[in-house]
């Protein structure tokens, strides 16, 4: 018997420190990632090109296969090479070889003593990942915003075509998907990563290396999307309905790769977020002592978890149709366009709640701090979130009322869609109830709530119109729908996120966001937003279809107004972005708890230490313990007492 066998199970072997802490990770960073990605992409493209005979047979109706295979090989090479260069595979390889991380390795990977360099590496500290997500979000939203300006320019210049139809179609699609990706991660990225673990009293997330993985997968996906613009773009809106999306240029492959990679990124992030919240809350933090933002983040992660695979598979199947000539979505050969639509909307609907719920929960989290009173009816808020999650998977086919796929099914979907307005209404009540009789501390983060609730009402009501099947017979496919979802996703989602970022800015960056310029930016954007999208509702009511670059003169005025509004949004957003950037460098140094919040994340010093807490906290009281006893309660009790006396009761 060898020594190992008799000692088997006696104790866990000590991991051996090979060389300096971090091992090969010391030499890997964004630079090596770029080298790996671009290098492998180039090699893959060249090799694939060499193996395909020129003029290779392609399937009828579709573009020649050779450039597509080369592009696809380049995309795959980029993703794999980039992730390898970042060191994403080192973890699994070390696991396989039995070379586990030591404590020093783990600290290195968390970025200890690395200074600014840690933001350019595969760093596992959730706070670093949160900041990296914030930067990525600003880049993605900026890219999407730029495309929005181009779109509105085309629609504003009603007397000529500014762009070719092909380019216009591709920018509307790319704008859509860039914004959707940006909005999914705008709260879940920075705030779920940076703030949530501290808020629940943990030292990091459940799977720190998965955290870094989800961020760098996103970073790998974005260039795939941008590259598609240079190869003809996507021709079919962000929903890329088949079979239109299968026609035309190779750019579509860039989109498909973006989604396939992004779905892995969000899936992994969902696993991480859900496990962290389920297993790592501080001692004493029962569910009724858990802040509402945690519920919101959990709900979004859950919905993303079950819904994203459908989107991912829809793109895998579409890719297969394109490259391997399968016929999932080719009706001539047995494919069905309705299959695509169902798979797509099975994600497409829960996904809007993935955007809305964290933003709303974030607003709910802010209200008690700035009104100095408890959240009104915490249980009701939880019920609202649970209700939305429960119904989210049952409403998808309201996007398909007009497809004719199953007319009988329109009835139950109309029912479930109108029902979902009830739990959403619960959340509005909680906001109103928390505002009720509260003394308002009028700082920038809370002022965003007013913008959010206003937009939520308009978005919600117009959603009711759309949920009614007969009314949808007029509105489907018109600019009315576009205005509705911008009110929800941007009006509620983005403005809410802006308020949240203003709130957490001191904790994340150590400086106060300049309120003057931040407010000017936010409210300028808000005014521009109302002008743009109210006018867009009018265009939709008048009967303008969506995704058109030229239209009847009837729609000219509404489009001119929308375009002016859009430029105002652009100015406002630039001001807000400027406020973020300049405050990050030159803002007032923030105290560790500038808002006087009682939540755990504000009880840490700023900058937050690597391990978050010197001693893990123990939670003993309900959250939101603000406020004083209600004077009216006392008066009512006295009054009741008087009344009892008057009517002779004892």
């Amino acid at each position: 018997m060898s020594a190992t066998a008799t000692a088997f199970g006696a104790q866990v072997p000590q991991p051996v420190q090979h060389g300096k802490p971090g091992g090969i990770m010391r030499r890997l960073n964004f630079g090596t990632g770029l080298i790996g990605g671009l290098g492998l992409a180039a090699i893959a493209a060249v090799v694939t090109n060499a193996f395909i005979p020129s003029g290779a047979a392609s399937s009828v109706n579709y573009a020649p296969i050779a450039p597509q295979l080369v592009y696809l090989a380049a995309l795959l090479g980029w993703v794999i090479g980039f992730m390898a260069g970042m060191g994403a595979f080192i973890g699994p390889i070390r696991w396989l070889m039995g070379r586990d991380l030591t404590h020093a390795d783990a600290e290195y990977m968390a970025g200890k003593d690395l200074g600014k360099a840690r933001y350019w590496k595969f760093t596992t500290d959730h706070k670093v990942v949160g900041i990296q997500y914030l930067i990525m979000v600003m880049i993605i939203l900026g890219f999407g915003g730029l495309l929005a300006m181009l779109i509105r320019t085309e629609l504003g210049v009603t007397w000529a075509e500014v762009f070719t139809p092909s380019f216009y179609n591709s920018i509307i699609g790319t704008h859509g998907i860039a914004m959707i990706i940006g909005m999914i991660i705008v709260v879940m990225g920075p705030i779920a990563n940076f703030i949530m673990p501290i808020m629940i009293g943990a030292r990091d997330m459940a799977f720190p290396r998965l955290n870094a993985l989800s961020l760098w997968l996103l970073a790998a996906a974005v260039p795939c999307l941008i590259s598609s613009l240079f190869l003809g773009g996507i021709q079919d809106g962000w929903s890329v309905y088949q079979p239109l999306a299968s026609q035309g240029p190779p750019g579509m492959l860039g989109y498909q790769m973006t989604i396939i990679v992004f779905a892995i990124s969000t899936g992994v992030a969902s696993v991480n977020v859900m496990t962290t919240i389920l297993t790592m809350r501080a001692k004493g933090m029962t569910w009724s002592r858990t802040p509402i933002l945690v519920f919101g983040v959990f709900a979004a992660a859950l919905m993303g978890l079950y819904a994203f695979p459908f989107y991912q598979y829809s793109q895998i199947l579409a890719l297969s149709d394109r490259i391997f000539s399968t016929s999932f979505f080719k009706p001539l050969e047995g494919g069905s366009v309705w299959l695509y639509e169902n798979l797509f909307w099975l994600l497409g609907h829960p996904e809007v709640y993935v955007i809305l719920i964290p933003s709303t929960a974030l607003m709910l989290e802010l209200l008690p701090v700035f009104y100095r009173k408890p959240l009104f009816s915490f249980n009701f808020a939880v019920a609202g979130i649970v209700g939305v999650v429960a119904l989210s998977g049952l409403v998808w086919a309201h996007h398909m009322y007009m497809t004719g796929w199953a007319p009988a099914v329109n009835y139950p979907f109309m029912l479930s869609t109108e029902m979902i307005s009830i739990p959403v209404g619960f959340l509005v009540l909680v906001v109103l109830g928390t505002m009720w009789r509260g003394v308002v501390w009028t700082r920038l983060p809370i002022m965003a709530v007013y913008a959010v609730i206003f937009n939520k009402m308009i978005g919600g009501v117009t959603g009711i119109y759309l949920s009614d099947v007969p009314a949808d017979q007029y509105f489907h496919g018109s600019m009315f729908v576009v205005a509705h979802f911008h009110f929800m996703l941007m009006g509620v989602g983005l403005f809410g996120a802006m308020g949240g970022i203003a709130f957490y800015f001191p904790k994340m960056t150590g400086r106060m966001l300049n309120e003057r310029s931040g407010s000017i930016g936010l409210w300028t954007a808000f005014v521009g937003f109302q002008i743009t999208f109210m006018s867009m509702f009018v265009a939709g009511l008048q009967g303008q279809p969506r995704r058109v670059l030229q239209f009847d003169d009837l729609f000219n005025i509404s489009n001119w107004i929308s375009t002016i509004g859009a430029y105002i949004i652009g100015v406002g957003m630039l001001i807000f972005l400027g406020a973020i950037i300049s405050s990050w460098k030159y803002g007032d140094i923030a105290p560790s708890n500038p808002w006087g919040s009682k939540s755990l994340e504000w009880q840490t010093p700023t900058p937050v230490p690597l391990d978050n807490f010197a001693v893990l906290p123990v939670v003993t009281e309900r959250p939101y313990n603000y406020g004083v006893p209600d004077p009216y309660e006392k008066e009512m009790r006295e009054h009741d007492g008087d009344l009892m006396t008057k009517v002779g009761a004892k």
Partner: protein
């Protein structure tokens, strides 16, 4: 002696049998300044929003006035839904406004002292809100379901293409969408085809719709009819136009480069003119 003994009660002496204590609670609640303020604001905002009911319809009529019972139904729905939504929106906006103008605010960098009442819940408020919002949602659903059933009974193809009798009273039009043109075929009239949609006033028409390439969407705007044109499938819809005139068909699903130009016209003619058109095109009614 309590203060209440001093104030004369304008309703007369209290007896144990009339006016339950909860009515006093409500009366007292209404006496609070913020309650009245918010109620007044709600009513004012509500009235300011009321013209929307008509303005929305005015916008919808800009392409053309409704030309079928379906379109009129749709407009009525928009009107009613707006009307029903206004009180809720007005109330929410009133609270937003009042919280900024009516209740106290604090500015500045100092964390304010806690002065707000620590209201963690209010059963009446929650119950009232749940009941009202559910009732409203229920009303909207029932309205919608009934309306949908009516429209379907009158128009949606419950009759698949192969079972539609050629000699039926209704006009049957086969609509084909392809990049980027609409074609209409009249199987009852020797299969004449046209790129303008000719219909007969007051005669029900069934549309069978398909596509030869990608997904399009057949939208007859003033008739209130919309259905996807799917490749590989035949979808149905229908309507009875009740106004003569020229109307619009637009494509409402992005279908490629010239989606924006995929439009055509509808000519609704009276019976005589429709028949002469059909004869001119070389079709006589089969049967």
């Amino acid at each position: 002696m309590t203060a209440t003994d001093v104030r004369p009660d304008p309703d007369g002496p209290e007896t144990p049998t009339n006016r339950p204590p909860s009515m006093h609670r409500v009366k007292n609640w209404i006496r609070r300044p913020y309650a009245r303020g918010i109620m007044v604001l709600t009513v004012v905002i509500g009235f300011l929003l009321l013209p929307l009911c008509w303005l929305l319809l005015a916008a919808m009529n800009q392409t053309g006035a409704p030309a079928s019972p379906i379109m009129r139904d749709i407009e009525q729905t928009v009107f009613v839904f707006t009307l029903v939504s206004i009180p809720i929106c007005a109330f929410v906006f009133a609270v937003l406004v009042y919280s900024l103008l009516g209740w106290k605010h604090v500015k500045g960098d100092q964390v304010p002292k806690d002065e707000s009442p620590a209201i963690r819940s209010n059963t009446i408020g929650v119950v009232l809100w749940t009941v009202v919002s559910s009732a409203l949602a229920f009303f909207l659903v029932v309205w919608g379901l009934i309306e949908l059933a009516q429209i379907t009974a009158n128009s949606y193809g419950t009759i698949p293409a192969d079972e539609q009798p050629a000699d039926s009273q209704a006009l049957i039009v086969n609509v084909t969408g392809q990049q980027w043109v609409w074609t209409f075929e009249y199987p009852q009239y020797d299969k004449i085809t046209s790129e303008t949609l000719y219909l007969e006033k007051d005669r029900p028409v069934y549309f069978n719709v398909t596509s030869k390439d990608v997904i399009h969407n057949f939208w007859a705007v003033e008739l209130g009819v919309k259905i996807d044109a799917n490749p590989g499938a035949i979808t149905q819809t229908g309507v009875t136009p009740d106004k003569a005139g020229t109307f619009n068909v637009r494509c409402a699903e992005l279908c490629g480069l010239h989606h924006a130009y995929m439009e055509t016209q509808i000519q609704v003619l009276d019976k005589g003119s429709f028949n002469s058109w059909a004869r001119e095109m070389g079709g006589s009614k089969t049967s």
